[in-house]
Symmetry: C2
Subunit: 356 residues, 2 copies
């Protein structure tokens, strides 16, 4: 079982701001969809079959050295609040949180690797790493996948590749994505044109929490949706080129802004700094929007006493379930806004002292 | 002649925050309208007659010990920017700034007392003091008036009292006003009802720069408009009762807000603090609005490291003409917003060090 108090007290490695280009690319993520041979897919499985897959996959994943030390969490044994904590940490999907059948997650304690069991597929293996580093994500995920493929008989077709519940995942079963911060392109209004280019080369653009979620704080998830007819390496290469181009575009937009609207940009950044350090009430959305301006300020070298790491940690900590778990009681939205503002002030103040 | 560089470098005594109730009432002001016997009123005077009155009044006012040490300024010899400086310091009226005939001002160097010569009347004597202290204003103004009445033959009728260009000033020629900060009544939306009560007892409500000007930063000027049929003391007493009542209403509204909406009020105050200490661009109007919230914070004991004095001084310093004089060059509004934000940050930061 998971000790949620200690889970929320430590910070996930994939948000530690240490990876390449982590000023623009917060994290790189790869997931693989896998199913166990001769067991019906999750949506067609009987209760008994689902439970059998769950137990088998959980035991084998926990045995794997690749994600050790690991913790496991059976969704049925968790409170709604604890399930929400896992969504907020990006260890499980919102669909997985709400599903009605036997399911659970295994994750390495540093949260680099996780395995959702009985999501849409029997296995959803995920690697998340800091910065623009799909190579490292693929390296650790591939090792886990190879290890598990020796322990479990994957459903595989010579013709199609890995078989999956949804045809869009058939073949490699891979989805590669990056969480990328593009405030300058939003301000210069070049974002729509830029993202149109991204979708035209067959990639998807989503919000912070994945499919169907709102874009908050100028954070975009860029991912592939083709999984068939290309190797994993080719798919990763396509995403890499797109991300590299987005980074160039964003940096160019930053230069334009500093040339044409320096005072306005600095004003926006310092106001965000002033409000985050002083407000007594902060909604999630306002936090995301102000922290986007602050992140841009760190990126441009304007804010020097706060780190990307601090901001990334805060982004997780101030979400509703984390706040309630942290303060050990359920809260209405208004009360959360009060405690969110408190935590932001304390965290930024500690961050500044740490940098002083 | 006035040395404007040294004028703007020192702070007017009437804004030093030292007077009674100066958290709510920034200043008390009394002016007297007087004319010289047997000279036509300003609007009917020939050029020669106007110049004669000007020279005579200026010489006598400068001789008076009541406003010594004094400086004098002939409007014709001032640049438009310097005239604007005098308006921003409330030493002359906007109408006086723009008039086309011979006119000028004498003021004590601490700016407690001033005499506009050839405004609407030959003399407009003014006393401005810190806080809610019409008694002190009347005391120093009365001495100056008595002194001048011995040097100049005032136009006076046994039946009507002092004769003035506009009938609304006939009699005592007195106008008593107070600059009062009512943010809590604005937030609780009780302000309209409250001010309606004020006008019903025969008083006027105006903005920061007097007649016809906008209310900025929740600062209201309350003044009498009756000057006939009552003694100066009765008129002052009427204003005093109204101001005392407004102070009680404002304090009660503060208590209500702290009881019913503490977090929202504290949030508003701390955000203003954060923005004023960090913004890189500030318009006049935004400064007035944010400094109103900060003033409320000092009043409520929430902000303890900034003084009313500092805020009052800033209110004068960041006005357009002061900014341009201070920085020694003409500026577009956008450039002024930049320098205004700089001066606000520096001034607040010095104020905080001074309090530390």
């Amino acid at each position: 079982m998971v000790d949620f108090e200690s889970l929320i007290a430590h910070h996930a490695a994939w948000l530690d701001g240490s990876g390449p280009e982590s000023g623009v690319v917060l994290s790189s993520r790869i997931r693989l969809a896998r199913n166990v041979h001769e067991f019906p897919f999750v949506h067609r499985a009987s209760k008994k079959s689902g439970e059998a897959v769950y137990a088998m996959v959980r035991d084998e994943a926990l045995k794997s050295q690749q994600c050790a030390p690991a913790f496991s969490a059976d969704m049925d044994e968790l409170s709604p609040l604890d399930r929400r904590i896992l969504v907020e940490r990006h260890l499980i999907s919102p669909d997985f949180e709400r599903a009605a059948w036997k399911r659970g997650v295994i994750a390495s304690t540093d949260e680099h690797l996780s395995v959702m069991i009985n999501e849409e597929d029997h296995l959803r293996l995920q690697a998340m790493v800091s910065g623009f580093d799909t190579g490292r994500a693929w390296e650790i995920l591939n090792k886990l996948d190879t290890d598990l493929s020796g322990r479990l008989a994957y459903a595989f077709s010579e013709k199609y590749g890995f078989l999956t519940a949804c045809p869009t995942n058939v073949g490699t079963g891979i989805r590669v994505s990056a969480l990328i911060h593009l405030p300058a392109l939003v301000i210069t209004k070049d974002i729509d044109e830029t993202l149109k280019g991204i979708t035209q080369i067959g990639l998807s653009v989503r919000g912070f929490y994945g499919e169907g979620t709102e874009v908050l704080g100028n954070l975009f998830q860029i991912s592939n949706h083709t999984t068939l007819g290309k190797t994993e390496e080719e798919i990763i290469q396509t995403i890499n080129s797109a991300i590299a181009q987005l980074i160039r575009f964003e940096k160019r937009a930053c230069e334009t802004l500093l040339k044409d609207a320096k005072a306005h940009i600095e004003d926006k950044i310092w106001r965000a700094y002033g409000i985050l350090n002083n407000a007594r009430l902060l909604t999630s959305n306002e936090f995301m929007s102000l922290s986007s301006a602050l992140r841009m300020g760190i990126m441009l070298g304007i804010i020097t006493n706060i780190s990307f790491t601090s901001l990334n940690q805060l982004m997780i900590l101030v979400q509703p379930a984390h706040l309630q778990k942290f303060l050990k009681h359920e809260m209405e939205a208004g009360e959360r806004d009060f405690f969110r503002a408190n935590i932001v002030r304390e965290h930024l103040s500690m961050s500044k002292k740490g940098n002083a």
